[in-house]
């Protein structure tokens, strides 16, 4: 699984050791700043910061490489802006990209790439279980019980999704193989092909959901209070990093 989009890369760096709440908060602050920056020069700063943090994390290029599957989306976003922004035409034809489109497209695409990269820096330096525990602790003070869920249920749902997404893909592969081996033809007709795959996969995953729910209940799951194998503890370093990020963000936003 190493090298998959948003997967965890074990390590012992400072970034790995930071409290997940501080990391989640920092990524949120960075996202806000990245969205507010309107010049490519600003984004260069965030790019350099990302390079610096990646070196600190010691996860090498795997974080960047894992973003590769999203490349077509990046290109798409860029081209949309490149061609469909009003402005000075670059070529003398009816459907010409514009100069403004080039600027805006680069800006939007770089922003988007940076968001994804920072997200993958978070997930590559934090165990999924620690992220969900962190999110649970962030959500806990919110009055979620009024809308009928608990922060623990949300966290459990997220960890279940983390396990079942890849599993569902694997299962779909199995169903597809078994259908192919019984001679069904896929490529001819994409619509009925997709349906004939989706229905058994859906049916299988419903049955599986029943089984999982039973296994969870058997292990005393109640969705109320629960603890975590990974206890979170704010250290002085966490508080310092948190204050620093908060300070810088406030400074940039309000000064």
């Amino acid at each position: 699984m190493e090298g998959f989009l948003f997967s965890y890369v074990a390590g012992k760096s400072i970034l790995h050791g930071l409290d997940p709440r501080v990391k989640i908060f920092s990524v949120m602050c960075l996202s806000i700043l990245i969205f507010r920056s309107s010049a490519l020069v600003d984004l260069l700063v965030f790019t350099l910061l990302f390079v610096g943090l990646t070196i600190i994390a010691g996860s090498g290029l795997s974080g960047i490489r894992s973003v590769r599957p999203l490349f077509p989306i990046f290109v798409f976003i860029f081209l949309m802006h490149f061609f469909f922004t009003e402005g000075v035409a670059l070529f003398d034809s009816q459907f010409s990209p514009t100069y403004e489109g080039l600027l805006k497209g680069s800006l939007v695409t770089v922003r988007f790439v940076l968001l994804i990269l920072y997200g993958s820096l978070l997930t590559s330096t934090t165990r999924p279980a620690v992220i969900t525990t962190g999110i649970e602790r962030i959500l806990r003070p919110l009055p979620l019980r009024r809308v009928g869920v608990t922060s623990f249920e949300i966290a459990t749902m997220m960890s279940l999704a983390l396990y079942f997404m890849p599993h569902l893909l694997w299962y779909a592969g199995q169903v597809k193989d078994s259908q192919l081996s019984r001679g069904s033809k896929y490529r001819r007709d994409p619509i009925s092909g997709t349906l004939s795959l989706a229905i058994p996969v859906l049916k299988g995953s419903m049955r599986m959901a029943d089984d999982v729910a039973m296994a969870m209940e058997s292990r005393c799951y109640q969705g109320n209070f629960r603890t975590s194998l990974f206890e979170l503890k704010m250290t002085t370093r966490d508080v310092l990093v948190f204050s620093f990020v908060l300070g810088v963000t406030a400074l940039v936003l309000y000064v």
């Binding site: 396990y163 089984d211 296994a215 209940e217 058997s218 005393c220 799951y221 629960r226 603890t227 194998l229």
Partner: protein, 269 residues
């Protein structure tokens, strides 16, 4: 310590699956429930940890009632249940996270959880895979993870529902070894299977057919009875029974496998 008195069960769709079941299981024993697919084995054992409530009759586990909502969490700590499909009882991304799920639900401190997780993982021999992603494990390893996940709750009673039926033969015998080991360490074991070979090790075999108990006794008596009724028993047992009927070996012999039967007939020096 586990007692089912006159238990019947019908699913909400009206399907009547269990008929007047009476079972008493003593502490520390190793019981096998043997029955064909659809005979009601899963339905029966789900009454023991309160996943199902009897339509009629009473279940009692260590003096508690699984059908009552006040005892339910205590019962589920006392009775650990491992299921058939290795893929659909995993709830964590890695082995240790999955094993920690139960203790986390019990709201234990993280040091205590860590201790229990390490112990449980050691008990099933997965020490070197603690940090592995479940996606990367084989069916047998997943099933061992599931057993560890149940052990981490420190239950007295362990129920295994056809846990080997989706595994290859090597993992199968490893899992059976683990189960026997756990019984030796003092856990009461209820082992559900449709494989006769897997019923040989038990102290007692209960045969379930169409929701009723048709035999109940030591493996030797139960398999004799099955054999006498003209149905298939494992080949080495059939041979042993035939040899016994012909007076060629002692009627007390009950070989676990072909090798021990061979030792009985011509002992190697």
């Amino acid at each position: 310590m586990i007692e089912l008195k006159d238990v019947s069960y019908s699913y909400p769709n009206g399907h009547n699956v269990l008929d007047n079941i009476d079972i008493r299981i003593e502490k520390g024993s190793f019981i096998t429930i043997l029955g064909d697919n659809g005979s009601g084995k899963s339905t029966l054992i789900r009454h023991i940890n309160g996943l199902l409530k009897p339509s009629q009759g009473v279940v009692s586990v260590c003096g508690m009632d699984p059908a009552s909502s006040t005892d339910i969490w205590k019962i589920r700590q006392t009775v650990g249940m491992v299921f058939q499909d290795p893929h659909s009882q995993a709830v964590g991304a890695t082995v240790e996270e999955d094993v920690a799920f139960g203790p986390e639900n019990l709201a234990l401190e993280s040091d205590e959880i860590r201790l229990r997780v390490t112990n449980a993982i050691a008990n099933v021999g997965l020490e070197c895979l603690e940090d592995s992603l479940l996606m990367s494990l084989s069916g047998g390893q997943l099933q061992k993870t599931a057993i560890a996940g149940v052990l981490a709750m420190v239950p007295e009673i362990l129920i295994f529902d056809e846990v080997t039926s989706m595994l290859d033969s090597v993992s199968r015998s490893q899992i059976i070894d683990i189960v026997r080991q756990l019984n030796k360490r003092g856990h009461t074991v209820v082992y559900v299977t449709h494989h006769m070979e897997e019923a040989l090790f038990a102290d007692r075999v209960i045969v379930l057919e169409n929701g009723s108990i048709t035999s109940d006794g030591t493996p030797r008596d139960v398999f004799r009875e099955i054999y006498a009724s003209g149905r298939k028993v494992p080949p080495h047992l059939e041979l042993a029974f035939r040899l016994q009927d012909a007076g060629m070996i002692s009627p007390d012999v009950f070989p676990m496998d072909a090798l021990s039967l061979k030792e009985e007939i011509c002992p190697s020096r």
